[in-house]
Amino acid sequence: MAGFDKVVSSYEEAMAGLEDGMTVISGGFGLCGIPENLISEIKRKGTKELTLVSNNCGVDDFGLGVLLQDRQIKKIVASYVGENAEFERQMMNGELEVELTPQGTLAEKMRAGGAGIPAFFTATGYGTPVAEGKEEREIDGRMYILEPAIKGDFAIVKAWKADRYGNLVFRKTARNFNPMAATAGKITVVEVEEIVEPGELDPDQIHTPGIYVNRLILGAFEKRIEQRTVRTAQS
């Protein structure tokens, strides 16, 4: 690496420094826009006792779900964890700690974490189990709860295109949590489908500026579809 060039050549290098007990923030919604090869590398490394922050936890054999197989996850912060039998088993047996967090609150926690805002008030979750133990405040006649920001030792991100400086462009709904995750990691690692030279991306079209990105790697992606729904051409 030299100057602003963030490109690394191996997944081993991409995830170097990840240690047991660390917090990892991941982009992705369901299996859409997940950093699938960075997840595989965490599995290969065998890092344990991880706290994972992600909207979902994959399925049994794909996405973050693969980290459940060798019990690498100690705790997960997520909004929706259905459709994953091993997850349910570990949660019910108390082997896996789960902090269910409303989806919008989760996105904002990552955004705040990356933006230097330690906590924020939101009406989401007031009067529900999510509010337990949290500060409550009335503002202009409405009740809010104080939600702390989230930061990660690592953030793992999937983007569509990048230049070598780590400027990122996402594609369609594969963007989801990725831009917020990218801001919230002490070390942010991004895998992409295409890397171009600096200057080739239109500065007006960049979703995530390279300042947030520490390491960048070119990957090949399976892009598994969770719910394949189609219509016939006529309908």
């Binding site: 919604f29 349910e88 269910l100 904002e108 963007r175 719910q227």
Partner: protein, 218 residues
Amino acid sequence: MALTREQLAQRVAQELQDGYYVNLGIGIPTLVANYIPEGIEVMLQSENGLLGMGQFPTEDEIDADLINAGKQTVTMATGASVFDSAESFAMIRGGHVDLTVLGAFEVDVNGNIASYMIPGKLIKGMGGAMDLVAGADNIIVTMTHASKHGVSKLLSNCTLPLTGKGCIKKVLTDLAFIEIKEGKFHLLERAPGVSVDEIIKLTEGELVVPNNVPEMKF
């Protein structure tokens, strides 16, 4: 006769207005998209980051990078936009969505809703539901009026963990269309062929019944 899933969706669709931005939850609410009245324009918001959700793709159009909040492959309508999750929930939390339709396990006379967890049995998570009910002013809950065993889901107090407190004003069940105000359920309409007595019997929370309760029209 109790309404079918399609009829529930059809009745909700009658509440749509021209120019509405609408978030439809998973299940029955999704079906509402099939009954958008002729001559009006509605833009569907999907909280994973899509405004202007189109129909399901053909085999040729399938794109793994384009899904809805139910993780189903979809397409984009003309004039659609895509954005990240923080932006998506800024729209929702900030009250910019005109109508939210979602399901529930229980609703009570104080507008509380329980929809995301049955302790010890079903723990999948709230997804975006807590943000949706906290952020929207105009929410319609669609649900069955009672369980298969005849246990009411319209209660004086929700028994399950809440998704939101004091945020529901309209409930459409397979038997009735109900408004919640001043700590009571108010019967607005009944499903065709369903008697007021039957609705009263299956409503545990206090129900105000006017002299004339019209049947829903389709």
